[in-house]
Symmetry: none
Subunit: 188 residues, 4 copies
DNA sequence: GATGAATGAGCTTTCATTCAT
DNA sequence: TATGAATGAAAGCTCATTCAT
C-alpha cells in the first residue's frame, strides 16, 4: 500500500497520545499501521529514530498553525493577537500534541543542539517578530526566545491542564490571559 | 543504615530526571540508593506507589520552600517578591524536581482528583495570597489557581530550559522576568 | 523448526513430572524445548494457560488411547478387558502424565465445571460403556462416572507408585488386578 | 509463648490446605503462627524440612484414625468394615489432608525409602491385617500393600473428588463402594 | 521490499534465608 | 532464644530488534 512511512508515524503519534510514552510498543505501532513489525525498521533505524521523527513532524505542524494569517504589515499587537489565538486554537484542538511534547522533552531523547536547529528551522518568523518588537522599544529588553517564551509557553501548560480537566477556561478568561501575556512582554 | 526510605525516593527522582520515566528501573533505583532490590518493596508496595510518593514528597517540599519567609503582614508586592524568589531559588537548585514533575503529570499515573486534594493540602496559603490580592482589586479577576499559574508556572519551564542549557539566565534577566510576572497578574 | 508448540507442551509436562509443579519454571521449559523464553508466549498467553493446555491435550491423548480397539459389538467383559489393558499400557509408558495430572487437580488451576465439560467431550464413549453394562443389570447400580472410577482410577495411582519404584508389578499381578477391578463393578 | 514448633506446623498445614503448595510462603507461615520469620529456622532447618514434618505428622494422625476401634479378635469382614469406615470418615472430615498429600507425593520432596520407613512405622497393623487375611486364603494372593491399596486407596481419590464437588456421595453409595472394595480383594 | 516468528536481555516482583540486634 | 529488616537469586513476562523466507 501507499505511504507506509506516513501511516507508521501517525500510528506512533496516536498510540503515544492514547497510551502514553511507555504504552507505545513497536508491535502495537505495526498493528495500528497495518504493517509487519520488521517493516518499521525499513523506514526508521530504531525506536528512538521513529520518536524523533514524530517530534519533528509535530513541530513543523505547530509552526505552520502558529504563523497562519500573521501579516507582518499589520501593527504589532494585531500580529501578536493572531499568533496568540493561533496558538490557543491549535493547542485546544490538539491536546495530544502537548502530552507528547512534554514527555519527549523530559526524556533522554531530548537534545539541545538538535532542538535549537529545529527551532531555527521552524520558528524563525516567530522569533523575528519578537526581535522586531524589541528593536522598536515596544517589548522588554530580553532575547527573542525569552520573549516568545513569556508570551506563549504558559499557554501550553495551561491548555494541557485544561485538557486534563484541571482548569475550566472560557472566552472571558482567554481575553484576560492574552492581555496578561501582552503585558508581560511589554516594556514599562 | 539510616533513612533508607529517603534514599530510595531521592534515587528514584534523580534517575527519572536523568534517564526519563522509562529509563528508571527498580534495579537502578536500588543500586543508586545503595540497597537491595527487595528492600524497595519493604518501603513501597510497587513501582507505581514509589512514583506517587516521590511526587507527593516533592510537592510538599516545594510548598515549604515557596512559603518560607512570606509574611502576610507585608505589602502585596513584597510578599509576591519573596514567593517568586523562593520559587526561583528552589527550582534553580532542584532541577530534577521539574523534570520529574512534567513526566509524572503526563503519565497515566496522574489523577486529577488526587492532584486537587494535594494542591489543597500543600498550596492553600499560596492560593489565599492571590485570592486576597484579587479581592483588593489589585490582581486580575481570575481564579486564584490561574493567577498563581500566571505568576509562577512558566518559571518552572524556564528553569528547566536553563538547567538543560537551552537558555542563559542572569540577575538582570531575573529582574525582568519577575517584573513581567507581576505585570501579568496586575489588573489594568 | 517444526511443531514448537508440541515441544513446549512436552517439555512442560516432563518438567512437572520430574521437578514438581513449583520446580517447573518458564525458563526451564524453554531450555528443555529448545526455544527462547519469549517464544513460549507466542503460543501460550501465560504460564496458567500453558498448564491448562498440557492438561487438556493429555486428557485427549488418554481418551484416544483408552478407546483404541474397543468394539461395542463384543461382549461386555471383552470390552472391559481391552479398556483396562489400554489404560494400563498407556499409563506404564506415560508415567509423566499421571504425576502431572495429580498436581494439576490439586492446584488452584483446577476448575470443576471446565473439568466436567472436558470429561463429557473426551470420555463420553467410556461412560456409555458403563451405563450400558448397568442397564443390562451386569454392573452395580452406580452412576457411570463412579463405575469408571472403580474400574480404572486406582490403576492410575498404582502405576504411579510403580513408576516411582514403590511397588513391583508383573503379568500375574496385572491379571489379579484386572480381575479385582471387574469384581469391584460387578453386581452381586 | 508455649509450643512454637506446634504452632508453626499447624500454620503451615493450614496455609497449604487453603492456598495450595505454591501459596505457602515462610513469611505467611510466620505471620499465621504469630512468630518472626527467623524463628521458624530455629525449629526447622529449611522449608523442605518443615514440609516433611507436616507430612509425617499427618501420616501419624491418619494411621491413628484408621486403626481406632479395630479389634483383631473380630471376624475379618468386621475388621475390614471398621477400617474402611474409619478411612471414609477421616477423609470426609479432613479433605485438606488429601489435597496436601497428593501434592507432597507428586513433588520432588517425595522419597521412596523415607516413605517406606514411615509406612512401616505407622501402618504396620494395617498391613498385618491384610497379610493375615491372605494367609487364611480369604484375600487374593497379592502383597499386603497391594491389597491395602485395592481396599482403601481409591477411597482417597473418591473423597478428594467429592470434596471438590465433582461427585455426589450418599450412604447408599458408600455401602456399594465398601462392598466393591471387599469384592476387589476377595479371592475367587 | 515486506514479513512476522523468534530471540533474549531486561523488566517488576517474590520469597527462602541470613544476621545484627 | 527471638526478632524482622535486609538480601539477592530467580521467578513470570515484555518488547526492541533480527533474519530466514
Amino acid at each position: 500500500m501507499t505511504n507506509k512511512r506516513e501511516r507508521i508515524l501517525n500510528a506512533a503519534e496516536h498510540l503515544i497520545a492514547t497510551l502514553g510514552f511507555q504504552g507505545m510498543s513497536m508491535q502495537l505501532v505495526a498493528r495500528e499501521a497495518g504493517v509487519a513489525t520488521g517493516t518499521i525498521y525499513r523506514y526508521f533505524k530504531d525506536k528512538e529514530s521513529l520518536l524523533r521523527c514524530v517530534h519533528e513532524e509535530r513541530l513543523q505542524e505547530v509552526s505552520l498553525a502558529l504563523l497562519s494569517n500573521v501579516d507582518t504589515h499589520n501593527p504589532c499587537f494585531e500580529q501578536f493577537r493572531v499568533l496568540w489565538q493561533n496558538c490557543l486554537h491549535y493547542l485546544l484542538s490538539n491536546s495530544d500534541c502537548l502530552l507528547y511534547r512534554v514527555q519527549y522533552e523530559a526524556s533522554p531523547l531530548f537534545n539541545r543542539e538538535e532542538e535549537e536547529r529545529m527551532d531555527e528551522r521552524y520558528f524563525k518568523p516567530v522569533f523575528e517578530f519578537f526581535e522586531h518588537g524589541r528593536e522598536l522599544g515596544l517589548f522588554r529588553d530580553l532575547p527573542a526566545p525569552l520573549l516568545g517564551f513569556l508570551a506563549l509557553e504558559n499557554l501550553m501548560l495551561l491548555t494541557q491542564k485544561h485538557a486534563r480537566g484541571c482548569i475550566q477556561l472560557n472566552e472571558a478568561v482567554f481575553d484576560e490571559l492574552m492581555d496578561a501575556a501582552w503585558n508581560a512582554i511589554l516594556k514599562r
